[in-house]
């Protein structure tokens, strides 16, 4: 994981520059222009050009799961603390935001999301306490406990679901700046804005002193302690900030994507999904979360579309579904064998190769 960073710096050795194609080396101004262009496409062109299906069934879950991946990546990829409680923290965020929306309707949506994230951060820090004593697989077990405990509490205590009999909450209508967020395009823009802000924050966070401390703890916590890093506090902060991001992702998942909240919607399966996103996307990488989420969200849908075409050939529907699962599993294995460091690394390698492509011997 740390080699990923060093690899990036190696390839930018100044001495080698004049001989390379300038295609992928950008000056500061060009970088800003590129970011502006990407933002223009994402914020203006995509909602105009996409239909409902793309917005609400593909792009929104893709963005939300990217955000969840980012959350887990902070604690696992950067700070090295394994966690299987992502879905639990997402549900805490969803329930906290729901209760704020319902019980304090005066608050604006952005504040609800922020407070929901902060509440989740507190819960995350609480469940991060075992990390002060235990590591690795044992830590997984304690975060797994969070997964089950949180689901159980939300099932049991009906106060959290506003004393609703069935325990399935339907999302109240959201609004921001006086505008109702009812159409897929509006929901997409809401998700995109939140994702953009949180990713930008995370981007600078992992380059800050705290981010470096996380990586020091991840790479060798004894060494980190020796050079004077407060390991305990660093770990707890990682859990808190990770849960903050996961909480916001959970709220978006519930309100901007599904439109309902129920405890079983945030089960262990979702935790695994988020874990796979960061394993496949790339641990300790920001952009990798998008790649991993794309893989986990888009590929099954793509396969299912392909299967839809095959259904007319006469393969039985249930069998077709099992075939998709086999193919999806195989692809995961193939990718991980080819590139254990994830898709982010694969992209990095491809970029490096492309950089000296015309002159490569």
């Amino acid at each position: 994981m740390s080699s990923l960073q060093s690899n990036a710096s190696v390839s930018r050795k100044p001495g080698a520059q004049p001989r390379r194609s300038s295609l992928l080396r950008l000056s500061g101004g060009a970088l800003i222009a590129l970011i502006a262009l990407a933002a223009l496409i994402a914020f203006v062109a995509v909602p105009r050009l996409s239909n409902d299906y793309w917005l609400s069934a593909i792009l929104i879950p893709f963005l939300v799961l990217s955000l969840a991946g980012l959350g887990l990546n902070l604690v696992t990829g950067y700070a090295g603390q394994l966690s299987l409680g992502s879905a639990a923290f997402m549900s805490v965020g969803a329930y906290a935001t729901y209760n704020l929306l319902v019980r304090a309707p005066a608050l604006p949506l952005a504040v609800d999301l922020l407070l929901g994230g902060l509440i989740t951060a507190a819960v995350g820090a609480l469940f991060g306490l075992p990390s002060l004593r235990i590591k690795g697989f044992y830590l997984i077990v304690s975060t797994l406990a969070a997964q089950f405990l949180v689901e159980w509490i939300f099932t049991r205590v009906s106060w959290f679901s506003n004393n609703d009999g069935s325990g399935v909450l339907s999302a109240p209508t959201l609004s921001a700046f006086g505008l109702k967020i009812a159409t897929p395009a509006a929901r997409y823009l809401l998700v995109l804005s939140v994702v953009a802000v949180v990713f930008a924050m995370a981007f600078s966070l992992v380059r800050s002193e705290l981010g470096r401390r996380w990586m020091a703890v991840r790479d060798m916590d004894t060494a980190a302690r020796v050079i004077g890093i407060p390991v305990g506090r660093t770990k707890l902060l990682a859990f808190a900030l990770s849960s903050f991001v996961l909480g916001i992702a959970g709220a978006l998942w519930a309100f901007a994507y599904l439109g309902t909240v129920e405890p079983h919607g945030f089960d262990l399966n979702l935790s695994f999904q988020v874990l796979f996103i960061i394993i496949i996307g790339g641990m300790g990488s920001i952009g990798g979360n998008f790649l991993g989420a794309a893989f986990i969200v888009l590929l099954p849908i793509l396969l299912s579309h392909a299967a839809g075409a095959l259904a007319s050939v006469g393969i039985e529907a249930g069998q077709l579904q099992n075939l998709q699962k086999i193919l999806f599993g195989t692809l995961i294995i193939v990718f991980l064998i080819k590139e254990p460091d994830g898709l982010a690394r694969l992209v990095q390698t491809a970029r490096n190769r492309l950089r000296d492509w015309p002159l490569r011997a």
Partner: protein, 456 residues
């Protein structure tokens, strides 16, 4: 030469395979819109089916029956007034996210054929697509399940918990227990235990059962079984201690046979356990073996192949080899017949709507009108060959449920035997509770309920 060498070194097979994969995916994406090209002039039913996963038995039976019935309508009648039915499936695995993706994928119709209604057969997916259905103007049919207060069509114009909502279900069971005890007044002092699935579906009836217990004066204990319900030892020990007169089983999937087996272990008689509408299939009773003998459950539709409409399916669809079931032994089972009943209700709604809007493919909005004016009396049910299979059903703006009656059946070790006529739920008692809940929902969502006096 270097180039060629490096190409060889890099392993051609990996590249080839990735290219192949990319090509086949492109092909698949491109091919989807062209399959099944002649769909204009047809009515489309998007099917969010599930044939794999823990609830595959329910999904494959239900959607098998639904598809076979639509096939029958196409083959025997040439469609509904000349409008052929078409459908495509999207696998949800009973997972909410997948159900939502399928909904969004299928809602816009198939090659010009408009979507008539969605039938997800999942409480979770129904909840998640409830708002979407209203916005997209496509009826959401939740036969025998769903959100109870969506019975109030003034607040939920596009949601149809046809035949039996969860409140009616428990109310009918309590009425039956009253009958067995010699009148509802005799319920006083009786002990009833409700064993329910630890999910939104299971908890939906907690408050209404409390209301019924207060009204009739029976001693009620409600016990939760955590999902999925494959361990119920402690729950049944509690039941053994209470020694209830009746146990109402509100299970789902594996929970049902385990409950019957655990009951046998503590010596509770199976013929005093009443299974609800999702504990009533062959797949629920048969795995429990001997422990299931005598087990009673409710049903909105008997199993069996004797009904003329089921016979017609056999003749026109199954015998020519177009049946949807992989295992022909499941023909005529509870889930399959529920699928057929669901098919009948959907098609009849379409027919009613055609009478108003013309014999052509109709939009979801028009089909919604058809559902709301569905009126199946005994004469019509006889014409359909579904007398005794489907209960008389009359829907209206205010009432999206219609029936609210169930029959009771008993497992004889091999199959279900119907042991009662139609037992009605106390719908007059339930109505104010439903309206209160629906109005609270309307308030929370900022919906102005329709005036059912004017809206026809």
């Amino acid at each position: 030469m270097n180039f060629i060498d490096s190409f060889k070194r890099r392993g051609t097979s990996a590249r080839l395979s990735s290219r192949l994969a990319a090509a086949s995916l492109l092909l698949a994406l491109g091919a989807t819109p062209f399959s099944n090209a002649q769909a204009a002039g047809e009515e489309y039913f998007p099917l969010q089916s599930y044939r794999v996963g823990p609830y595959a038995a329910g999904g494959s039976g239900f959607f098998g029956g639904f598809i076979d019935y639509m096939n029958l309508v196409n083959k025997r009648d040439g469609g509904v007034n000349g409008v052929k039915l078409t459908w495509s499936e999207c696998e949800t695995e009973y997972v909410v996210e997948k159900g939502v993706e399928c909904y969004e994928r299928l809602k816009s119709g198939l090659n010009g054929a408009p979507a008539a209604a969605t039938n997800p057969l999942s409480v979770g997916i129904a909840y998640a697509t409830l708002d979407r259905s209203t916005v997209d103007k496509i009826p959401l049919v939740t036969i025998n399940h769903g959100r109870t207060d969506s019975t109030d069509g003034a607040v939920f114009p596009y949601v149809f918990p046809l035949q039996l909502n969860p409140y009616s279900e428990v109310s009918a069971i309590v009425n039956y227990i009253g009958q067995q005890s010699g009148g509802l007044t005799q319920l006083k002092g009786k002990k009833i235990v409700v064993l329910y699935h630890g999910s939104p579906y299971g908890r939906e009836t907690i408050p209404v059962l409390d209301t019924l217990a207060k009204k009739y004066g029976f001693e009620l204990t409600q016990i939760e079984v955590p999902h999925p319900g494959n361990e119920q030892g402690s729950q049944w020990l509690t039941i053994h201690r209470i020694k209830p007169d009746w146990v109402i089983l509100r299970g789902w999937g594996v929970m049902n046979p385990v409950a019957l087996k655990s009951a046998q272990k503590v010596g509770f008689p199976a013929d005093h356990i009443i299974g609800n509408i999702w504990s009533n299939s062959e797949e629920d009773a048969r795995p429990a073996g001997d422990a299931a003998r005598g087990f009673i459950s409710i049903t909105t539709h008997p199993s069996g192949t004797g009904f003329p409409v089921i016979q017609a399916i056999d003749q026109y669809v199954i015998k020519p080899g177009n049946g949807n079931l992989k295992d022909p032994a499941r023909f005529g089972t509870v889930y399959y017949n529920l699928g057929v009943v669901n098919g009948i209700l959907n098609v009849e709604a379409l027919r009613v709507a055609q009478a108003k809007f013309g014999n052509k493919p109709l939009t979801g909005e028009q089909v919604r009108w058809g559902f709301e004016h569905l009126n199946l009396d005994d004469a019509r049910l006889k014409q359909l060959g579904a007398y005794g299979l489907v209960q008389p059903l009359k829907l209206s703006c205010a009432d999206h449920e219609g029936g609210g009656a169930v029959r009771f059946q008993q497992w004889d070790g091999q199959q279900w035997k119907v042991i009662s006529g139609w037992v009605q739920a106390d719908r007059a008692l339930l109505r104010p509770i439903i309206e209160k809940s629906a109005n609270a929902y309307a308030k929370e969502k900022g919906i102005t309920p329709r005036d059912c006096g004017k809206d026809i």
